[in-house]
Amino acid sequence: MNTNNNVYTVIYTAVIVVVVAALLAFVSGKLGPAQDANAKAETLRQMMSAAGVKPTEELYAARNAEVLQLYADNIREAYTIGLDGQKNGELSVSKDKIELISKLKPQHKAILAGGDVTLPVYIFNSGIAVIPIYGAGLWGPVWGYIAFQPDCHTIAGAFFDHESETPGLGAKIKDEPWFREKFSGKTVEWGDTPAFRLEKHAEATGATNAVDAITGATMTSKGLNEALNVWFKAYEKHFGSGAFFSMLGEHADSETINTEEE
């Protein structure tokens, strides 16, 4: 057979590509549920790390089932809000049916477009509220979870992750615990623009809503700063103007709302 014939070549490559594509689609479909379960447990680990439910290392050493159980034991409620700051949905927190808004990219797009959003708020038994953030780093998306003290003004903890930032530089947002630990005790000044600063020499200004950018990772830091501020802006009406506290009822203690300017 003449394998160098044009028709043969075209048909051969077409068949190979179709066969490979079909095989990969089949495998992807088969493994999808297992991958989703892993991704869900990963999201829960990151949220609980930010909320301080357990140390990060312990969360990563725990199996998926243990992570789901831990979340179910520690979560009080989870719901979604719109850009007006009002609740627009509930997320189930029962162990068998844990609901998360884990696809942050479409929400990010909707925030930027000012459209309909369902932004999640996860409230733990400790009164700590966790929200996600999402944005563009240097090579791919960066995201994270920010946990607030019950005053919704002070950051209790944070966890950041990324898809493909440079190891040793931008990847430090995840790899170096000191980076996320710097956020604990900082504040978010709802209503200010920007509500938070992740910039060069930001800490030297003495502001409580500032963390220094990472040296050598300018673009990742910029992307993360933007992600923080875009998402903080989206949650501003919920946390900043009392919608959150009026919703919590007995927790709406005005003394705990600290909106003083620095």
Binding site: T3, N4, N5, Y8, T9, Y12, T13, I16, V17, V20, L23, L24, V27, S28, L31, A34, Q35, A37, N38, E42, Y60, R63, N64, E163, S164, P167, G168
Partner: protein
């Protein structure tokens, strides 16, 4: 076992090691050798990809149109790499390692060893020897990866497979964690390899 087959298996591990002799695939050897666990998973992934890609390409060798053979090989290799990546992502224990290895699993596609062995061996040999050649080359690569990772994790973190082995008073050497040290270590391994195997020395 006949002599030729034995040579096929042993040569890539020793005298014709893809990393220390051919100096192929060193990019990932520098990147994923900070910890033994990652290096081991990477080594196993490469072994699976080189072995299976060589097997499939060898099975197809008489039907592949010569003008598009590189493209066909690339499709086969890419398929194997995606399969490995998907399987790692689905396993509960391997998910974190897959995330840690991030782009390097995907970049196995560009590892010169894989395409090199298909071009040099699989297209001209029967399936079983091709499979063994692919596995052996993966092993040769993996062996160096594990040796490099052993020293880097030991000196850089004081641990092996995440377990503390050096006394807690040991101050981890940060240079060892950085990629340049992998290059230094690789140089040392090549040095030792050549000192032992006189055939490799140039005049």
């Amino acid at each position: 076992m006949d002599k030729k087959l034995k040579e096929t298996i042993l040569n890539p591990i020793l005298k014709g090691n893809p990393i220390t002799v051919l100096v192929l695939g060193i990019c990932s050897a520098l990147a994923v050798t900070v910890q033994l666990k990652g290096a081991l998973v990477m080594a196993l992934s490469v072994i699976a990809v080189t072995g299976l890609s060589s097997l499939v390409c060898s099975l197809l060798r008489n039907t592949i149109p010569n003008r598009v053979r590189i493209i066909v090989q690339l499709v086969v290799v890419a398929m194997m790499v995606i399969l490995v990546d998907q399987i790692l992502k689905a396993g509960e224990g391997t998910y974190a390692i897959d995330k840690q290895l991030s782009v390097y699993i995907g970049l196995i596609i560009t590892n010169c060893i894989v395409m090199g062995r298909i071009e040099a061996f699989a297209l001209g040999n029967k399936p079983i020897p091709s499979l063994l050649d692919g596995i052996a080359n993966g092993l040769g690569y993996g062996l160096i990866l594990v040796v490099v990772a052993f020293f880097r994790e030991l000196l850089g973190s004081g641990t092996l497979f995440g377990f503390q082995v050096l006394p807690s008073g040991y101050v981890p050497n940060n240079l060892v964690i950085l990629p340049p040290f992998a290059l230094i270590l690789l140089g040392c391994i090549i040095w030792v390899h050549r000192a032992i195997d006189k055939d490799l020395q140039e005049n």
